[in-house]
């Protein structure tokens, strides 16, 4: 069955059909929730809550793209979680490092332990840095830069104008750049920022 058939079946109460959709989008939903909330366990709970809400709201889905519709529910659920717990994503790098074994697992493309450690280090630095952004900036950065959505898709997901997306993405990136430049030592060596002198030296 293709996606539209699965949706139609799920709208008639076919739970296995809906679970096919869950399997397709669970990674996306979980990753978005993790970047917004900054906690792997909370992200899993939020993603599952979002799927329950989506199942309940399927009656109001009248065609169109399922992915932005689903992501809107995910981001709204994450905002609910943030509001409910008054919880900010991890602000302290020490907190992030203290999580140790509770850190989320990454997709393993068959890399060695050194490469895995490097990715882990990179993930910690990124998560800490985006945790310093406001909720709105972090969400837009997550959708556009991390998940690769277009500006239009992000605007649809967040129900905001294209101009607002552009504004938030540019401000978010500028702030992230400043944070990461200031804490370059947190990044693995090959991910660090270019020096200005080098840029000047390559000037024609």
């Amino acid at each position: 069955m293709d996606e539209s058939q699965l949706i139609a079946a799920a709208q008639n109460g076919d739970l296995p059909a809906f679970n096919q959709l869950v399997l397709k989008y669970q990674s996306l939903a979980y990753n978005v929730a993790y970047r917004i909330l900054g906690d792997p366990d909370l992200a899993a709970d939020a993603a599952q809550d979002a799927f329950i809400k989506a199942y309940k709201a399927l009656g109001s889905f009248h065609g169109g793209a399922f992915k932005p519709w689903m992501l809107r529910i995910v981001t709204n659920t994450c905002y609910d979680y943030l509001r409910a717990s008054k919880r900010k994503p991890t602000n302290s790098l020490d907190d992030e490092l203290e999580k140790g074994d509770h850190n989320p697992r990454f997709h393993d493309p068959g890399e060695g332990p050194e490469s895995y450690l490097e990715r882990k280090e990179l993930n910690q630095a990124i998560q800490w840095a985006i945790g310093q952004l406001s909720d709105d900036h972090r969400t837009v950065i997550t959708l556009v830069d991390i998940q690769g959505l277009s500006y239009e898709e992000a605007a649809e997901v967040l129900n905001i104008s294209l101009g607002t997306v552009k504004s938030r993405i540019s401000r978010g990136r500028a702030k992230l750049r400043d944070i990461l430049q200031e804490h370059q030592e947190l990044l693995p060596e090959r991910y660090r920022f270019p020096h200005r002198e080098r840029v000047a030296s390559i000037r024609p």
Binding site: V22, Q26, F51, Y55, F106, H107, L122, R177, V199, R203
Partner: protein
């Protein structure tokens, strides 16, 4: 004027994402070619974006598929699963409330009944006929009905407000009429011209009125409905208690 001052981060971001039009593209590229500082700004932004795009994807820690129980707990339906009806869902919550309401009503009814019954059994509402009340002998026939009707209405009001106790021994001493607590209908009847004339021509015309014992006493009139309501509420209370017990304890155990 320096290009870096007129090329904003917003424009550079849009440039990185190819989200700008041709005119803006030419403007940005001209500025980048002319100013190394702007080029550095662009490069750091590009590095930031590349870092974000390279953020590792995480493995979902557990399957997020939904179970039937999760969906049912959320109040949703699942194909092939029997769902509780509206009443099955709400009756267990409503029955205890209904029982409590009926119990309160029953207690009130019982208390009211006990308070009102002794008074009504021992007392009869008796009204003395005013001795100095003038007869209508001298009144013109054309005026009489209207005057007497209003007079009768006033009497009806008095009957309710000024009922007096009368010793049993005094009953035969004076001509009088016996009026129950619910004298309003009688008074209204008196308000009609014909009966008003008959009534106001007492004491001579008094023997024509029906004697008191033929009518129901106040006890019979007022306590009977209360008793019935109390009985009814009592039965209803037993029924609701039984249903609550069945719904709350017996049916869940069968499931």
């Amino acid at each position: 004027m320096k290009h870096s001052a007129i090329i904003s981060d917003e424009l550079l971001s849009a440039y990185i994402d190819h989200e700008i039009d041709e005119a803006e593209l030419r403007r940005v590229e001209t500025a980048l070619a002319a100013e190394p500082a702007l080029q550095h700004r662009l490069e750091t932004l590009q590095t930031t974006v590349a870092l974000m795009k390279g953020a590792p994807a995480l493995v979902v820690p557990r399957a997020l598929t939904l179970s039937e129980s999760q969906v049912l707990a959320a109040g949703e339906r699942v194909k092939g699963v029997t769902h509780p009806t509206f009443w099955e869902r709400w009756l267990p919550r409503l029955m205890p409330v209904a029982t409590a309401v009926v119990a309160v009503m029953f207690v009130f009814s019982l208390v009211f009944s006990l308070q009102t019954t002794p008074i009504n059994t021992s007392k009869l509402a008796i009204r003395e006929q005013p001795a100095e009340k003038p007869t209508l002998a001298g009144i013109e026939p054309t005026e009489a009905p209207a005057v007497m009707a209003s007079d009768a209405q006033n009497e009806a009001a008095e009957v309710q407000m000024l009922t007096v106790e009368q010793p049993a021994a005094a009953e035969s001493a004076q001509p009088r009429s016996v009026v129950s607590e619910d004298a309003m209908p009688v008074a209204r009847e008196k308000a009609s011209p014909r009966t008003a004339i008959a009534e106001t021509s007492v004491p001579e015309a008094a023997p024509a009125a029906k004697p008191a014992p033929a009518e129901p006493t106040s006890r019979e009139i007022s306590s009977m409905p209360v008793s019935w309501i109390t009985w009814l509420l009592g039965l209803l209370l037993i029924l609701t208690i039984f249903l609550t017990w069945q719904i709350t304890f017996v049916r869940p155990r069968r499931r």
